[in-house]
Amino acid sequence: MRILVTIKTALRALRRNKMRSVLTALGIIIGVGAVITMVGIGNGAKAQIEAQIASLGQNVILIFSGSVTRTGVHSGHGGAGTLTVEDAEAMRREIPGVMAVSPELRSAAQVAAGNQNWLPQILGEGPDYFDIRQWPLVEGSPFTPLDVRGATKVAVIGKTTAQQLYGDESPIGQIVRIKNVPFTIVGLLSSKGLSVMGSDQDDVLVVPYTSAMKRVLGTTTLRSIMVQAADAKLLPVVQQQITELLRQRHRIQPGRDDDFTVRGQQDIAEMATAQSKTMTILLGAIASVSLIVGGIGIMNIMLVSVTERTREIGIRMAVGAHANDILLQFLTEAITLSSIGGVIGIAMGVGASKIISLSLDWPTLIPVVWVVVAFLFSAAVGIFFGFYPARKASKLDPIDALRYE
């Protein structure tokens, strides 16, 4: 029951010094606000990246030309490729866990339709590409194995490219000139949005890889091969078998580096999330530091307050207050300051996340557990930094305190 009275006394003291209380709590407000905002942005980014990774397709393995060597040099990537169509065929034929394969080429090229010019990504792919990436068409149909065999001049167009070249008109049946070679558009892809790396996945023209090799790029090697494993459990085995197969086909001596790079979907996901994780940790550290600074601010003001109110402490002790009553009174002041700061900080953090969300079109996500943790943490800051001043107050001698001027 004495506790209730003590809490009431503490709240009154804070109300009496409103301005000072607010300024003291400001450190905690900013600290908690920063933590919540960071967590919101970090989690939002993570969720977005995860969605993008999933949009890559299911159980996908990518094999790139060239390799990251021991010296860290990425050789042969793009330029003179080391992967061939035969490699892709061999994978499909010889590795049982492989469900689908799509040889890939990629290039940015000038395209024209009527008097419209544009610079989309040109993708040379196999007919399985749309299945592997789970990328349905909204209009028309994809190209077929027959188109691949005949290196037919047909193309499937992405939403953005279609919009740029034809506006709201249907692109199906239209002619698009890629490096002056006329292609007929047979299909329109559904929208996939931004990629993990932030590029527009809908700004593409997808053509049979044979057509890309012969008619657009004039090359005989591939940039990469996209493989879909039959089952997620098979991914490590298939990755291993691909490596063995390619080393054998490329006649690479044991102990020498691969001239290709195999990346599972998980590897790509890890690379992408590692970056955002580092960000979150860094910003979290900054936020923690500001919380500590806020705590020191509380300690500072509480010490000043104890000194200022030495006489009050003496009077309370003279009429019968125990050391613990005084301790609790000042501790309550500190905890109240820090937890009110915490609540305001949480509100501001949520608000800031919402604003960022709306203005930058960046998703934010604040898990409830973080809100609870932030609140408990701010209260803990109050206990930790308020304890020393409160203890100092409770250790005062009544006579000395009463004599204090």
Partner: protein, 253 residues
């Protein structure tokens, strides 16, 4: 009757820097229930030091102090706080009220730290009653800064009375007051004493000491005389006398 206060060879030495100050040396004293004692003496003779020991605000460096039969020197800090809360009402020369807190709340303060819990209406009732004893009910909501010195001292007395202690200790309660207000305060003390409350009061004004029943004189930390008051004054008639002295002065204005 058993003594309320029993001091045996009480000593208090302050260690400050090079020299030790022996503020109180070997004081032995008994005060019985219902007594009204004035402690007199020159400045620096150790009156306040003794008073703080009596009030359990300070501990003696030597000797034995029994309050109501309890050996106080054996008690813990918290037990002393409880004694201050329950058995003693202390009135300071400088009032020592909480500023920015109403008279009523100042009087409620000792009850907040009482062992047994009281409801807020109970607190209010008791505090108002105590303010009634010092005739200050109408100023219950005023803050100390809105009260005169005499009124502040009466609030302090009400605070000392609110837990119904058997002993009231006052260190120069009239030290900051004019003579008329001092007599009013002595009137309050005489009323309380008539109800059986034991009062020990420090003063260096002989006129004020005449309102008490017994006068103890200190010098250099010793008790040098301890005599009953023979020419006792009473606040009622004394106030009337002061009034009649003032009246003609008013009429000539």
């Amino acid at each position: 009757m058993n003594a309320v206060i029993k001091l045996d060879d009480i000593r208090k030495t302050y260690h400050t820097g090079e020299v030790d100050v022996q503020a109180v040396r070997k004081v032995s004293l008994e005060i019985h229930p219902g007594e009204f004692v004035a402690i007199m003496g020159a400045s620096g003779s150790g009156k306040s030091t003794l008073m703080n020991i009596l009030g359990c605000l300070d501990r003696p460096t030597g000797g034995r102090y029994s309050l109501d039969g309890i050996d106080v020197s054996q008690l813990s800090t918290d037990e002393l706080a409880d004694i201050r809360n329950q058995k003693i009402g202390f009135v300071f020369q400088g009032f020592n009220l909480l500023s920015r807190t109403s008279a009523l709340e100042n009087v409620e303060l000792p009850m907040l730290y009482a062992r047994q819990h009281m409801h807020s209406y109970e607190l209010r009732e008791k505090a108002l009653h105590a303010l009634g004893v010092v005739s200050l009910t109408d100023r219950a909501d005023h803050h100390p800064s809105q009260l005169s010195g005499g009124q502040q001292q009466r609030v302090a007395i009400a605070r000392a009375l609110v837990n119904q202690p058997a002993l009231v200790l006052a260190d120069e309660p009239t030290g900051n007051l004019d003579s008329r207000t001092s007599v009013e305060i002595m009137g309050v003390f005489q009323q309380l004493n008539d109800r059986g409350i034991t009062i020990v009061m420090v003063t260096h004004e002989p006129d004020i000491a005449r309102f008490t029943k017994r006068s103890v004189v200190m010098s250099d930390g010793h008790v040098v005389s301890d005599t009953p008051v023979t020419d006792r004054l009473f606040a009622g008639p004394e106030l009337e006398r002061l009034h009649s002295l003032l009246d003609p002065a008013l009429q000539t204005q």
